[in-house]
Symmetry: C3
Subunit: 151 residues, 3 copies
C-alpha cells in the first residue's frame, strides 16, 4: 500500500475560466506507481473548485452564464465593504473584489475536490469526463493537490 502526493501550480485567467488538468492528474497517477486505489484532487482555495465534468466550451460558457444568474452581483456589494471576520489586510482586499459572490458560487459547486477511482493504473473517467479546475475569482496564482492511495 502506497501514498503519493504532489502539488501543481497554475495561473488562472479569472472570470469563471476553466482549466483542463486531466493530463497532469493522470501523469501523477502514473508517477505514483499505484495501479488500484483512489486519486484525490483537491483545491486549497475557497474560490476555486476541482470538478469532474465535460470539457466543451459551449457548455462551460452556458454554465458560467447560469452561475452568474443564480448568484447575482448586487446583493453582495454592501457586505463586501465591511468584512465581519478575517480582517487581515489581504483579506479585506479580497472581499473588496466581490469575493463573497465567488464564495457563494463555490458553495453551489460543492466540495473543493474530487475523489476518482484508479484501476489498472488509470483514472476511471468516463468517455466525456475530464478533471476541471474552475476559478471563480479574478486572475491569480493558484494550485491544486493530488494524492493517490492504493496498491
Amino acid at each position: 500500500v502506497k501514498t503519493f502526493q504532489a502539488e501543481h501550480k497554475l495561473r488562472t485567467a479569472g472570470g469563471l475560466t476553466v482549466t483542463d488538468i486531466t493530463e497532469d492528474v493522470q501523469e501523477a497517477v502514473r508517477r505514483s506507481g499505484i495501479t488500484d486505489g483512489i486519486c484525490s484532487v483537491y483545491s486549497a482555495h475557497t474560490t476555486c473548485s476541482v470538478r469532474v465534468n465535460e470539457w466543451e466550451r459551449g457548455f462551460l460558457e452556458d454554465f458560467a452564464v447560469l452561475l452568474k444568474r443564480l448568484v447575482p452581483t448586487e446583493r453582495y456589494s454592501a457586505h463586501d465593504e465591511r468584512p465581519t471576520e478575517n480582517t487581515a489586510p489581504e483579506h479585506a482586499q479580497r472581499v473588496g473584489i466581490g469575493n463573497r459572490r465567488a464564495l457563494c458560487m463555490s458553495m453551489l459547486l460543492g466540495p473543493p475536490g474530487e475523489s476518482i477511482p484508479v484501476r489498472d493504473g488509470e483514472l476511471s473517467l468516463g468517455t466525456w469526463q475530464r478533471v476541471l479546475f474552475l476559478e471563480l475569482d479574478p486572475e491569480r496564482d493558484g494550485h491544486w493537490l493530488v494524492q493517490v492511495d492504493g496498491v
Copy 2:
C-alpha cells in the same frame, strides 16, 4: 489492507429519474470483506450523479421541478446545435438532445460520486440516507463503479 472494485450496470428511465442503489453498494461492501475503511461510489457519466440523500418520492419530484426551474431549457438550445468540441458523431447526437442542460444540472449537483465511511462492515449511512443514482439525460444504459478501501 485491501482494495475491492466492482462495476454495476443499470438501465435508466431518463428525465431526472432516481434509482436507489443502496442495497447493491452494501452488497459490494460485504463481498469486499472490508470492515473499516471508505466506500467510493462513482458515476463515470457526465450527466449522471451518485448522491447520498433521502429516498422519498415527493422530495425527489420536488427536486426535479426545482432543478428544471433553476436550469431552464431555452438558453441551451442554440448552443446545442453547434458543439464546439468533442464533435464525434455520437457526441453531436448527445448535444442535439439538450445535453448541455443536463451537464449544467450535474455541475449544480456536485461531484459524480460519493465517499462513505465503512464501519463494522456496514456503510455509515444515517437513518434516512440512501445511495441514489440520478439520471439527468434521457433513458439509456449506464453504469457505476464501487470501490472499497480499508482493513
Copy 3:
C-alpha cells in the same frame, strides 16, 4: 497503514446555522497518528452537510439568503402534508416542518461529506478554508463522523 474513526456530537441552532468544526477535525487527525493520507468528514444526516469553505459571517449570511431564494418555501408545503415513503411517525413529523425544502437545499450543496488530504500530520486546508457543518433543518442534536486513512 492505519484507519482511525471517531464520532462527534453537536447541538445545532437550526435555520441554516453553520458550525466551524475545523479544530475538532484537526484534533482527530492528531489522535490518529496518521501523517499522510485522507481525512473524510461525513454527516450522517440528509439535512446537514459538511462543506469546506470560508468561515466569515457576512458570506455565510449572504449564502443563507441565496439558498432560501433559490429553494423557496411555498412549493414544498403541499407535499409536506402527505409523505409518499418513510411514513414512520418520526418521519411524518419531520416532513411536517418543511423537511423537503431542507432536502432540496442539501442536494444543491452536494455530498454530505468532504475528503481532505492529510500531509505531515495536518489537514491540507488553504489559508481561508475551514471545515463547516451546516444545519438546514430546525435546531436539534446532530453528529458527524471523521475517518482518517493513511500511513
